[in-house]
């Protein structure tokens, strides 16, 4: 019994760490414009819209996070093998991994933006100076929490994978959850605020991103502020729930029966099916069918 209570505590802590990781990951990727709407930031200058938004997407978010978290976990693992205190080892490993992220962000921004020179898009050095450190700070939070969570899974719950491999697995899952959940909020709601709320962005409006903020020209720090309101927390809840339910169903129900975690997993999936169907019907009832926006009559 005591073991189960301990396991639940570890599960809750891992879930909390994952929630923070998801939120930081999404805000980081939105500031760096690394998630899927990045094509719009790349496309905008070609459509004649010069902007001051960071753009560091080269590979997708999940493999990038897979790399950074695996790197942080691998270094932490090596430090622990050198008898360094685990907490210090995880901090050091994550800090070193963040420098790789910083180099990646710098070269990606310079390379991607320089490729748009023929469309008149300048490389803003002040943007590079101010944004890179901010994405690095967010990336540190995401990497540190994920590596710490992986360490808990091995040290306290006894998962057989070594720390770097677990870092790779959960890094990719973190990127997948963050890029799936948080990105639409940044992509549509932030970049296309001129479009009518409650409708998708017409394909003809591609590249016509909003470039001005409340105080002058918009930059990626404004995007971070915006994403932190809903996209980030939603990504955090998504990743936190994934980690929590994956661990919880195993820790609590494995003791009763070896099939327990499987049965509970299926029940949880069915509960999420009901929740999804409920909100889908709610949206159809409350938003109603699409109505074309009325043309402004003169």
């Amino acid at each position: 019994m005591e073991e189960i209570v301990f396991g639940i505590g570890i599960t809750a802590l891992a879930g909390a760490l994952a929630t923070v990781a998801g939120a930081a990951e999404d805000v980081e990727s939105d500031i760096g414009s690394q998630g899927d709407p990045n094509s719009q930031v790349q496309l905008a200058p070609q459509m004649g819209y010069i902007h001051r938004i960071f753009n560091k997407a080269v590979a997708g978010e999940p493999p990038a996070y897979g790399l950074w978290v695996a790197l942080g976990a691998g270094l932490a693992w090596a430090f622990m093998a050198m008898q360094i205190n685990p907490i210090l080892a995880i901090v050091l490993g994550s800090a070193l991994a963040v420098f790789v992220q910083g180099v990646y962000a710098t070269t990606a921004y310079l390379g991607r933006t320089a490729s748009l020179a023929k469309f008149g898009q300048p490389v803003y050095i002040d943007i590079l100076k101010s944004m890179t450190t901010v994405t690095m700070a967010h990336a540190f939070v995401a990497i540190f929490t994920t590596v710490a969570m992986c360490h808990l899974m091995i040290g306290a719950l006894g998962h057989p994978f070594p720390l770097p491999l677990l870092g790779l697995v959960w890094g990719i899952a973190l990127g997948a959850a963050g890029s799936a959940t948080g990105n639409p909020f940044y992509g549509k709601e932030r970049q296309y605020q001129e479009q009518k709320f409650g409708a998708g962005v017409p394909i003809s409006a591609s590249g016509n991103i909003v470039r001005y903020a409340e105080a002058g020209q918009r930059n990626s720090l404004d995007n971070g502020f915006f994403s932190a309101k809903l996209g980030g927390p939603a990504s955090g809840v998504c990743f936190g729930l994934i980690v929590f339910f994956e661990l919880w169903r195993t820790v609590v129900f494995e003791e009763l029966n070896v099939w327990g975690p499987v049965i509970v997993g299926v029940i949880v999936i069915l509960i999420f099916a009901i929740i999804d169907r409920y909100i889908e019907v709610w949206a159809r009832k409350n938003f109603g069918p699409y109505t074309a926006p009325e043309e402004a009559s003169s």
Binding site: P63, F197, I242, E280, Y290, A292
Partner: protein, 283 residues
């Protein structure tokens, strides 16, 4: 003709070419023969398991509703990320669960892997709909079919002008969960097959006990399972090209080609994973 030339892409069934089939069968037979030469019957069974796992992953990826960048702007239905990435995320979460349950036997581990992958997709798809509905105010509407085959909801009147649909209809949600479950199942199967081979062979080659070799065997099997997962997921993503809404999408019918390619790719990667034993023994 497309802008780049070549035959026009058809959305329906695209059967594999005769040449492709012959090459795939030859590769699989060669891999099985090599496996028999290296570790006798156990090797053949492991390669067959790896091929089944790879096929399950490639088939599963076709179920996952992915909209890429257009989905992130409410221009197309699906989840706003890449096919291979999302499927890999789900499958690896399954592998995490499956590897954990490995001591309880094949059936429990496989079921654990499948449920793990399905659970990740169930939570992700639900949260995606939460963002679409409460963050962007967009109800789900498919651009490929007029009616949801499961719930019977009609879509055309909910679809915004100038888009190919948006949100995540219930059929796509179900497709995502099935895809995640198949991915988790396939990944776990590959892991368990490799783990068996390594645990049986490594102690003989290195002249150690099973307990001493366990961390090496787990790490090698895990990293190869992750690698093969990505091989098969990327392969399936190339077959899909861009976006897919789920099992109701006409592109779904393209899966036979990916399944055959995945079988050949898994056989080749599988034989490399097994031949590694000889390499370790050589040192």
């Amino acid at each position: 003709m497309s802008a780049l030339g070549g035959p026009k892409q058809t959305v329906g069934v695209q059967p594999p070419t005769g040449m492709g089939l012959v090459v795939s069968i030859v590769l699989i037979v060669v891999a099985l023969a090599l496996a028999f030469y290296l570790v006798q019957m156990a090797g053949v069974l492991a390669v067959i398991g790896i091929i089944i796992g790879g096929v399950l992953i490639a088939f599963g990826v076709h179920f996952v509703p992915v909209g890429g960048a257009p989905a992130a702007m409410g221009q197309a239905p699906g989840i706003a990320t890449g096919v291979a990435m999302l499927a890999a995320g789900a499958g690896l979460a399954g592998l995490f669960g499956g590897a954990w349950a490995a001591p309880f036997g094949l059936a429990v581990a496989l079921a654990g892997g499948a449920v793990g992958g399905g659970l990740l997709m169930a939570i992700t798809c639900t949260m995606v709909n939460v963002i679409y509905i409460f963050g962007m105010g967009i109800p789900a509407a498919s651009g490929k079919v007029a009616k949801d085959p499961i719930t019977g909801d009609t879509f055309p009147e909910y679809k915004s002008q100038g888009t190919e649909g948006h949100g995540l209809p219930f059929i796509s949600w179900v497709g995502g969960v099935i895809g995640g479950a198949l991915g988790g199942l396939g990944g776990t199967l590959i892991y368990l097959e490799l783990l068996d081979i390594y645990q049986a062979q490594l102690p003989i080659i290195l002249n150690t006990t099973v307990e001493q070799i366990a961390p090496v065997a787990v790490s090698l099997a895990g990293i190869f399972a992750v690698g093969m997962f990505l091989v098969n997921a990327v392969l399936a993503a190339y077959n899909i090209t861009g976006t897919i809404e789920g099992p109701h999408d006409p592109k779904f019918k393209r899966f036979p080609r990916a399944v055959i390619a995945a079988a050949a790719a898994s056989a080749v990667t599988g034989i490399f994973a097994i031949a590694l034993l000889r390499l370790i023994g050589g040192f």
